[in-house]
Amino acid sequence: MTDIVTPAAPAKLTRKDFVAEQEVRWCPGCGDYSILAQTQKVMPDFGVPKENIVFISGIGCSGRLPYYMNTYGFHSIHGRAPTLATGLKLARPELMVWVITGDGDALSIGGNHFLHSMRRNVDFTMVMHNNRIYGLTKGQTSPTSEFGKRTKSTPMGSVDRPVMPLTLALAAEATFVARTVDTHTEHMQHTLEAAGRHRGASYIEVLQNCNIFNDGAWREFTERDVRDDRMLVLEHGKPLIFGKDRDKGIRLNGLHPEVVTIGEDGVTEADLMVHDQHAEDPYLALMLSRMFWPEYPVPVGVLREVERPTHSDLVDEQIEQAIAKSGPGDLAKALLAGETWTVE
């Protein structure tokens, strides 16, 4: 019943094909508008018929995004979007599934599902809008809020230490881990494209601004005039260089990364670490995931991308193996399994 006939040569879709009729209702100036726009923009590039694309979200401002995508969409309950996506991908591995979430949804109430969907390598792309605040409930501290953050629920400052989402994703064995910024539209498009093409659990942290409850959370290093000096754009195979004048870099000093200036103290480009997003071991990615302003420039781009069989690949493989060994299941035989006797 679930065989779906897809047109052999789907007509080339455009951004407009992915815009749903529902009126968008985020606060004016919210970073979510940009995330929606870039998502709609890259969607045609995958060449996937829109009926085969599903957006699943949890609760929070980010949770509304599926309503605005003219694809299949499911606005679920708080923190549980990865669980629906896991079941859907098991049932229908051929679908392209996106999970839209936020810092509270993914890391607080949904923390367990975040961990387990990543370790299972469920083939979906999770886009986490990180604004370091609870927006839809009007401004309480979130798992990524700074220590000491004063909010309505923490008038004397938060006593909880924040988590580093990228470190968590790596520890949870995600096979694609990246970061981008709501206002860096081109970078976000590239990142979404790369994540969408990756087979397996992809995680993108989008540094997103909530201009109502936490305005300027990332401004210190994302603003146009400072971002080149305060952010590190990762490119596979390239040395870790940043700065307006491309004269700063990251060198490994013992077990620690350090910021150095090329040309000073005899430092050359050859001394810098070279990014390898396909490294099987996670050490470089883990190190990058810990680097943050003001001690370090904030890395953006793909920290890690490795190939592993997906969750549904493995499940389907076992089914194929079982059938290859014993033939397809016979219900009549299953009903009569074990010892039987006949009453005349």
């Binding site: 009926e51 606005h75 309950i77 669980t83 079941g87 859907l88 387990h116 499940v315 006949t342 005349e344």
Partner: protein
Amino acid sequence: MTTTAQGPERESLELDRVTIRFAGDSGDGMQLTGTQFTRTAAVFGNDISTFPDYPAEIRAPAGSLPGVSGFQISFSASDIHTPGDAPDVLVAMNPAALKTNVVDLPPGGALIVNSDAFTPSNLSKAAYTANPLTDGTLKQYKLFQVPISTLNARALEGLEMTSKQVDLTKNFFALGLMFWLYERSMEPTLKWIDQKFGSRPVIAEANRRALQAGYSYGDTTEMFHETYRVPKARLAPGTYRNITGNEATALGFLAAAHAAQRPLFYGSYPITPASDILHQLSAYKTFGVKTFQAEDEIAAIGATIGAAYGGSLALTGTSGPGVALKTEAMGLAVMTELPIVIVNVQRAGPSTGLPTKVEQADLFQAIFGRNGEAPMPVVAPATPAECFTFAVEASRLALKYMTPVMYLSDAFVGNGAEPWRVPAVGELPDISVPNAVKGEGTFLPYGRDPETLSRPWAVPGTPGLEHRIGGLEKLHGLGTVSYDADNHHRMTVLRRDKVAGIARDIPDLEVFGPGQGELLILGWGSTYGAIRSAVERLQAEGKSVAQAHLRYLFPFPENTGDVLRRYRTVLVPELNLGQLWFVIRGTYLVDAVSYGKVRGKPFRISEIVDEANRLLAERS
């Protein structure tokens, strides 16, 4: 009179029904012993009913009172409905097993004990100050002291095994002895040993020898003066197998997927006493069944909703505490009107409660346990074999009405076993429903079938039906988000009416006994057997007593109110403190009488008979 080759002359008596309880340490293999006896009796053609009763601890300290595990089997030449109120024979493998079980043995009952286990240390662990085998306290029973450990060890001499390994086979000595006493063939168990231990020849040989040694001991000793025959039962013609409720549940859903022509998905988190369903469905890979052991109960139902959204027949299974965790997601399934089945193998609560013991106290939770107006059909199988039928029925209702359905089993019906007439695949009802496809005009994800009020199942991948669903209230028809007050009222009423309408699509409540009269005993779920037996007994005494047993708890069958009003008194026995009773009174304004019990054990027939007689006397 029969004579055997080696043994002394003794009599073979014919009995209609025998109830045996095997009791020992939880490491003594009592569940296995009971299961083997059950299979043998079932294959022979007796009607059977079993009650495994095991502790929550996997291995409580050996010899201790909390570590006692029991298995009761009743086998009979006639139709039986319960594993028996009291055992005729108690096999006690140690003092703790004796102490916790002998209270249930009626005077004159046979008591077979492993006398080797009555050491000072074991006696002290069981809090015996004197040895009950010698102090005369057991004189009201027919006591048979058998040095099982010693005899068994002697039979296994020469095998390369540790003394601990040897000791682990003594349950088969006891089993062999019982096979001899009840004139049973050892063949099914010998065959089982070959299959189970084929790759471990020494263990296989040890179990064979233990079994045979027990059998031969019975034959040669002069301790027993009689053996017993329980002839075949007169069951309806057909092919039978022995089945537990949990096995029948798993098999029923496998069959339901076939009947629905959809792939089967089962999302679950391990929990007693429901885990066996996960184990069994996980073994059905050749059927394409996809099982998912989730990180928690919530993920299990979340994935189930996801799979249902994708077009599978999707279920999640758990016990009461797990249902508590799934509550919010059940509401989501109600709101998004997706077909899933939630299996609750109930156990004694609240909270962790008595995890391995039976209770029926999740009825309120099933009917009411969600925020908002969130109606959900509830069905409950009454016997292990009925678990199969109701797995198919729960699936039918879910698919036809696009709704989550609660399937309430319990530890007694789930773990208990009985003979099951195996249906032919062709007997299964067609429960298939089509996926929505693109038609003329605007697609209405919340448009409704005029008869069932169910909405279309538009699965992702269907061109032209792209739409959004979710937990927010939806606009009637179009399904877009709507905060409109009148629309919310309309949608709430529609969801209510959809589920209420199921009453027209289910069988009437049947009555066993007089169509009107003094007393109706109304039950639901696993109390069926005890109530049926009690009603049969009361009717045989000439009392005006009838039984009605609800399999549909929400909505109730359409004639339920009419049935209740035809009796002067309605008695509602339940393994809770009056949940069905409360709902019945609230729904029908019938002044029913509650009879609740929450002792982690099923009703005895006699308890219901006594309560019925008390009521009949009081109200006459």
